[in-house]
């Protein structure tokens, strides 16, 4: 599959993001051009402060560009009102966080239902859809459990189910395995792979090479700029070689 014959989902054009801290101006993003197509599986890597989190927030419509344009599904989000952006987040973006962000007093089902509470059309069918989503991540039997009755891996599965419940255009994962041990990380990554096979577009921030290896495309960032943007082969052993070469380049 190549990006040429699939739909363009994300188009960033000279996107800059400048924070003001006191009198200092911090250029978190320094004019990013980026295109991501449907069903791509992208890993964003980079040292802390490289701007990868800002890029994620930008793509996730949590943050706005200081200048430049960001088109999501062909719509320019730069000029959208705050509540329109909230709707975009609700309908088109699914977030998965490092620390799961599940609400402790709610059951797995209620946690997954949450985005539908704020949706226009999903409200009435929220229970059904949440159950389906939990089934999809392999937690059909854990519906009534609260987060403290679930293992770390299960918690992240619930979070992924929540992110997927609105059928988003993009699944955004921020260090999804950062709080998990390697064995469980692997099973979560397999779940991402599976979602990708089903046609889901995935963008993932990570600093773990093992995790990045699951992606088809690896974007490396430094100083608010894309330093490299590589399409990797499916073959695992080859992936690691390319990644290692890249690593040396940076250092």
């Amino acid at each position: 599959m190549t990006e040429q014959n699939s739909r363009l989902i994300i188009r960033l054009e000279k996107v800059m993001r400048i924070y003001k801290v006191g009198v200092e101006h911090i250029h978190a993003l320094n004019g990013i051009d980026l295109q991501i197509h449907e069903n791509e599986y992208v890993a964003v890597m980079g040292a802390s402060g490289s701007g990868k989190s800002t890029l994620m927030n930008m793509i996730g419509c949590l943050d706005r560009a200081t200048s430049g344009h960001y088109e999501l599904d062909g719509e320019d989000t730069t000029k959208m009102s705050e509540s329109a952006l909230a709707r975009v987040r609700n309908e088109r973006i699914g977030f998965v966080f490092q620390s799961f962000e599940l609400l402790g007093q709610l059951t797995a089902l209620k946690n997954v239902e949450m985005p539908l509470i704020y949706s226009r059309d999903g409200w009435l069918s929220r229970r059904k859809r949440a159950e389906k989503s939990l089934e999809r991540v392999g937690l059909a039997g854990r519906v009534k459990h609260k987060p403290n009755q679930l293992s770390g891996g299960e918690k992240q599965r619930v979070a992924i189910a929540r992110a997927m419940v609105c059928n988003p255009s993009i699944l955004l994962a921020d260090e999804p395995t950062g709080n998990l041990d390697s064995k469980i990380s692997e099973s979560i990554m397999e779940l991402f792979d599976e979602l990708h096979r089903q046609g889901q577009t995935i963008i993932m921030v990570t600093h773990e090479e093992d995790v990045a290896r699951h992606a088809q495309r690896i974007i490396r960032m430094a100083d608010g700029l894309i330093q490299s943007d590589l399409h990797v082969e499916k073959d695992k052993s080859k992936n690691s070689v390319i990644i290692k070469n890249q690593q040396e380049e940076i250092s």
Partner: protein
């Protein structure tokens, strides 16, 4: 157009969801919620108790007035606030029986007039049985026509009884003393004197401002006979010829009494002539002032309660910053977050209101048990509505600032919050 039609539906969903969320949140923090609402509970309980007591007092007074006529006038001695009489001791202020003679001749608008006297409480004996602390009241025959108290058995005190040892008793006292059902002609001992029962008169529940429990009884004897018990407290009751000349009757009696008591025109009166109508007016004024003062105090306690609510909402929001960030990330709009927290604080206050109502009811029951004056105490419907409306607005008002704060949180910052 679709957006326009959908807006109320979405709002209702949001409200439903917010109520659900608020209840789970409050349930999850039971102890904290209870402590938070304590201010509201106390505020509402006290407003309920105060309003109920006043309503009860009013009902009692009104029922008393109903038994009298509306053109009844009460004449009592009173020490003035200023002037040379203001330093006189009470025994010099009190009426002497002769001062109240001749009212009917000098006051043309007065239709009926009776002197009355109270000798305080005596012990009544019949055979082996005795009842202590019975009020002994002296009256003149006209009293029956003014007070209109039904005679159950026998006859009234009449003009021929002037200085005869006869008395009227209530049915309860009769039974308590073990007198016959038809006790007419039987003799009882009042203190050291023997009186013959000539009639049974319906017992009136005592106003009893200075105490007097529910078990207080009354024996009515001729006015002149009260002097056998020492120096009685003398007052008088009058009735104007019609309601139209009520004011004239009051004025005439004031003129008459000023003259008999030798009060100069520039001096203040040493007595009070008051129609029940004006007494009622005074009472209503006092009741209003008490309501306002109590309302002010209660309002302050509700404000303090509101500050408590605001404080706990701020704590709650700072604890749930990440949750707010998450909700915003998954698509909650500002208005959704605002509604969630406003609803939570309003519900907290409503819960406080419900508990307050319960405690208020309890307080009311205790109060009505303590003093028979307040036995008619009840909670008016409007007081319930008012206290809930007040609790709700406290929740809305004090919840606003924290809710706005929550709604304004930046999701990125909020999700980074530790």
């Amino acid at each position: 157009m679709r957006t326009l039609l959908l807006a109320p539906v979405i709002f209702l969903r949001l409200l439903y969801q917010s109520v659900y969320l608020a209840l789970t949140q409050i349930w999850a923090n039971k102890t904290r919620s209870i402590l938070t609402t304590l201010g509201i509970v106390i505020g509402v309980a006290s407003v309920i108790a105060v309003i109920a007591s006043l309503a009860g007092l009013k009902a009692k007074v009104l029922s008393q007035v109903e038994t009298f006529g509306s053109n009844t006038i009460i004449i009592q001695p009173r020490r003035p606030d200023k002037g040379r009489y203001s330093h006189l001791p009470w025994w010099q202020i009190r009426f002497k029986p002769e001062e109240l003679e001749g009212v009917m001749e000098h006051c043309p608008s007065v239709g009926r007039f009776t002197r009355a006297s109270g000798v305080g409480q005596e012990t009544i004996r019949y055979g082996e049985k005795s009842v202590r602390n019975v009020n002994i009241n002296g009256i003149e025959p006209a009293w029956h026509d003014i007070e209109n108290r039904p005679i159950v058995l026998g006859r009234k005190i009449s003009i021929i009884d002037d200085s005869r040892p006869v008395c009227l008793i209530g049915p309860e006292l009769r039974d308590k003393l073990g007198l016959d059902k038809d006790c007419i002609g039987q003799s009882i001992r009042i203190g050291h004197n023997t009186f013959r029962v000539v009639g049974v008169i319906e017992q009136r529940p005592e106003m009893g401002f200075g105490g007097g429990g529910k078990e207080s009884y009354e024996v009515i004897i001729p006015f002149e006979m009260t002097f056998k018990f020492g120096d009685p407290w003398i007052w008088a009751l009058a009735e104007s010829k019609s309601t139209d000349v009520l004011e004239e009757a009051v004025a005439e009696m004031r003129f008459f009494l000023r003259r008999t008591r030798h009060i100069e025109p520039w001096e203040m009166e040493t007595f009070k002539v008051e129609s029940l109508k004006s007494a009622l007016k005074t009472f209503n004024e006092i009741a209003l002032v008490v309501t306002l003062v109590a309302g002010g105090v209660v309002g302050i306690s509700l404000l303090v309660g509101g500050v408590g609510i605001m404080n706990i909402m701020l704590v709650s929001i700072s604890e749930r910053t990440r949750e707010i960030g998450l909700r915003k990330a998954v698509g909650a709009k500002k208005s959704a977050i605002l509604t969630q927290f406003l609803v939570e604080s309003v519900i907290l206050c409503f819960i406080g209101g419900i508990f307050g109502l319960g405690f208020g009811k309890l307080l009311t029951m205790i109060i009505s048990g303590i003093n028979p004056v307040l036995e008619k105490t009840y909670i008016p419907g409007w007081a319930i509505v008012l206290s809930f409306a007040f609790a709700g607005s406290v929740g809305l008002f004090f919840g606003m600032f924290p809710a706005i704060k929550a709604a304004r949180l930046d999701p990125i910052e909020a999700l980074r919050h530790e």
